[in-house]
Symmetry: C2
Subunit: 186 residues, 2 copies
Amino acid sequence: MRALANAAFELAMEQGLDGFIVDDVAGRAGYSRRTFTNYFSCKEEAVATGASIVNDTIEMEQMLENLSEDTLPIDILFQLIKMQLTVDYLKRMREMALICKKHLTMEPYFLKVVRQLHVDAQETLMKLTNGKVDEVYIQLLVGGVYGGMLPVIDGSVHIQFPDQSSSNNTFHQHLDKIYEYLKNGF
Amino acid sequence: MRALANAAFELAMEQGLDGFIVDDVAGRAGYSRRTFTNYFSCKEEAVATGASIVNDTIEMEQMLENLSEDTLPIDILFQLIKMQLTVDYLKRMREMALICKKHLTMEPYFLKVVRQLHVDAQETLMKLTNGKVDEVYIQLLVGGVYGGMLPVIDGSVHIQFPDQSSSNNTFHQHLDKIYEYLKNGF
DNA sequence: ACTTAAATTTGCCTAATGCGCAAAATTGCT
DNA sequence: AGCAATTTTGCGCATTAGGCAAATTTAAGT
């Protein structure tokens, strides 16, 4: 299934959404068309899935070790975000955003992927705070962060990606700005 | 086109997504199937569109009149929200959320409609503040509010809808809660 | 009212899609 | 190896997406 999604994403980047059909995806991944439809309802869904990465929950557990008892939810969240939205991930999202601009049918599936990020972060944060924090609080917090990240993800806010060597990167500056506003109120 | 969307939404409520085909939608709306595909890429998109309501920008102008110079963006936004998310609108969204639970293929199109609300509010707020406010600020603010509203919209948070007679309604209480958090920080 | 240009709708056609069903292949377990 | 559970596949068919050109409707000018 991962193979199918990857194949779809690659084909979309190489040929554009109209440049291939489901058979091509299945073929490249080494499966039959029927298997493709077992997992995806359309090309678009497969492409979007291919652009996203599954974050295993192991990272979450790694994080737990570094947490002191009184770390604020907002700080936990921002640590999470930084683990989740790696440079690689953002680049993939950008690729997808590009495809979206050309093919309107992609947009809903793009949104679905971003939404999944959102939901994952929310659930993880719930677990990490262990039910001690109001659920609405968490919903709002995560909603705010992802609402602010969306323009970054889809490229409508231009962000210089950090590479390992450069010390000043605007991506983290943007994150800091989000942090400030959410922390101190509007 | 509105007629097609409405027909699709009604059919989805009456028969469920699997209970009809595109021809039925076109037929009920009095158009041909070919015309349907001129406007929608699939049933789902039509249904989602039918569930949403176009807000003309007249309301925005109405609002402008009531605004004093120094009204805070967050207060403008909450007035906007209250105009946009009427009880009727929320009920339609709930209907759609219900359909979503049964038919996973609807979800991306549901998200698209909600996203549109989000974008509309953002653009309106930009106009109303007339470029005097940082764009990131607005993105975050609107993102926070809609992130917090999403669980309400899709019904995962149970909310008693206000009717005209009841004075205490939990929907507005929820809005107030969102307001507090965003205003005062996390 | 009449004419003409622009926009919308439609029919026709064909490649592509979605999915139920049952058979075949693969995997996992003992 | 033997057997159960899961995954993959082929077949078939109703449905769908969209290019193209004709037909119809709408809007505008005179």
